[in-house]
């Protein structure tokens, strides 16, 4: 591997969690996220010789991500509710400001997940492992879709609190 490819890979590795979250926020479907992320990785390595290293890599990679997301959404012919272009620009800008500390804070998530029990654990697995939407989960476990959506919201709130608590204990701001 030459030095330039090594640099590109290293930078991309560090930026990927934030870029991935941005893509998820725009396309939502997780398998689509994986496809788009792959396109972005290819575009990043192809365009890396033109990257101006005096500027933050994350902003540059998010610019590429925004283009790839745009292409994906256009291919989908907007058959679902998606963000307007100007909203997407704002959202990408917000992701650009995510600090490495904020991203790093989520490293304790796996610990927090272990504290989930029973129905909460099951709902999370159905949503995030099997990639089911609330309506499909509701059918599977005999709850209403609305109850599933609210339960997922509560679980995420609970996980967020757990992350904040653990981060505070570990001194991560």
């Amino acid at each position: 591997m030459d030095e330039q490819t090594r640099q590109a890979t290293r930078q991309w590795t560090l930026a990927m969690p934030v870029v991935s979250a941005f893509v998820t926020s725009a396309v939502r479907d997780f398998s689509a996220r994986d496809d788009v992320l792959q396109e972005i990785a290819i575009a990043v390595i192809e365009a890396f010789p033109r990257y101006d290293s005096s500027r933050p890599f994350i902003g540059w990679a998010l610019g590429i991500a925004r283009n790839q997301v745009g292409l994906y959404l256009r291919r989908q012919r907007r058959d679902r509710l998606v963000f307007d272009e100007y909203v997407l620009v704002n959202v990408a800008s917000a992701f650009e400001q995510v600090t490495s500390e904020e991203s790093h804070r989520l490293d304790v998530l796996s610990d927090c997940l272990r504290s989930l029990e029973g129905r909460a654990k099951e709902l999370c697995a159905l949503r995030y492992q099997e990639d089911l939407k609330p309506a499909a989960i509701a059918e599977r476990i005999g709850m209403s879709a609305n109850s599933v959506a609210k339960a997922l919201q509560r679980i995420r709130d609970q996980l967020r609190e757990c992350i904040e608590r653990k981060a505070a204990c570990e001194g991560v701001t």
Binding site: D84, S93, S103, R156
Partner: protein
């Protein structure tokens, strides 16, 4: 309908929002930068949850029992792990290690293809189009002059005598039209009718509007309301959304980046280094798609910005045009330039 921001965010990520709630979320995101940052934080957690759970799909059943082992690594270790041989053989790998190996493998394959075997003309053109899209998106407002080079009628056999294009009133001519565009779908297109009066259509990204030759102003929340007679709209290649049009090229056209014709590689490098150098991308429509037969894009090698576009045999109502759009200027046109009030006579009421 829930209008609590946190519920809207959760509903959006789970794809349970109604169109009204979706609109409310977009409005909230635009209201303050902190709101967008709050949304980004929620999306980070949502995305990481998926990634954490996907680890379970990558490790064996025996390993799942070992989930009490630490699953995470710090960020520096993640990057280093991509290049270091593993000193141990842990049964449980973090999701990042899984993703790192996939990412590294993918990047290596790309790097080998890119550097070792050269780049196909189509791949090079795709890369350049992506660069042009990025440059256009981040560029200041652009103003283009539109010139019609050729006009021809579409044959009755091809269009059909009953085609809607034949029933509609004639579209305003595009000759010497001026198009101003800004990222985010904002545009102002100024055309002259045959009797010399001005017909202006536009959008500020939130509403579309038209100022008819008699001066009357119509505004609509439907962004496509006044786009229908803009060339390219019916073929998803709207001139007013250059980024969309370029994206469409990648899907519906065979795209080629023409080589710079010089005596040798050193001369080509010298041309590329020049700030004035332009290069040409030629796109030829695939048989199964509609739209202009051929599109030519001349762009600055250095900045990636479009200098000129030619649309050859572009359907426009019952006609087929060959038209040329030439960049006139790039500069901020002012905050309110894309509002109808900047172009309408003050005395005219908005409908």
């Amino acid at each position: 309908m829930s209008l609590d921001p946190q519920s809207l965010i959760n509903g959006y990520l789970d794809e349970t929002l109604s169109p009204e709630e979706h609109a409310a979320l977009q409005e909230w995101l635009q209201a303050a930068p902190e709101n967008a940052r709050h949304f980004a934080a929620a999306s980070l957690l949502h995305d990481r949850l998926r990634t954490e759970f996907s680890v379970l799909n990558h490790i064996g059943d025996d390993d799942r029992d070992d989930l009490s082992l630490p699953l995470t690594m710090d960020s520096k270790s993640q990057a280093d792990a991509a290049f270091q041989p593993s000193k141990t053989a842990p049964k449980v790998r973090s999701y990042r290690l899984v993703m790192m190996s996939l990412t590294t493998a993918m990047l290596l394959v790309v790097a080998v293809i890119w550097k070792g075997f050269g780049v196909t003309p189509a791949a090079a053109a795709t890369t350049e189009i992506n660069r042009i899209i990025a440059a256009t998106t981040h560029a200041p407002d652009q103003t283009y002059h539109i010139a019609v080079e050729e006009t021809g009628a579409i044959s009755s056999r091809e269009l059909g005598d009953d085609a809607p294009e034949r029933q509609r009133p004639p579209k305003p001519p595009l000759t010497d039209a001026t198009l101003h565009v800004r990222a985010g779908g904002q545009f102002v297109l100024i055309r002259q009718t045959n009797d010399g009066r001005r017909f202006t259509t536009g959008s500020n990204g939130r509403e579309s509007w038209a100022i008819k030759p008699d001066g009357s102003v119509r505004v609509s929340s439907d962004l496509n309301e006044f786009n229908r007679d803009v060339p390219g709209h019916e073929h998803s290649m709207p001139l007013i959304h250059i980024e969309d049009g370029l994206g469409r090229l990648l899907e519906a056209y065979e795209v080629r980046l023409l080589p710079i014709e010089t005596a040798d590689d050193a001369a080509a490098e010298s041309v590329i280094a020049s700030s004035e150098a332009t290069r040409l991308i030629v796109a030829v429509k695939k048989r199964q798609y509609r739209g202009p037969k051929r599109v030519e894009i001349s762009y600055s090698v250095k900045s990636g910005l479009i200098q000129q576009m030619r649309f050859i045999e572009m359907p426009y109502g019952p006609e087929r045009l060959t038209l040329r759009m030439t960049l006139q200027s790039q500069r901020p046109l002012g905050e309110r330039f894309f509002e109808p009030t900047s172009h309408a006579e003050p005395s005219k009421a908005m409908e």
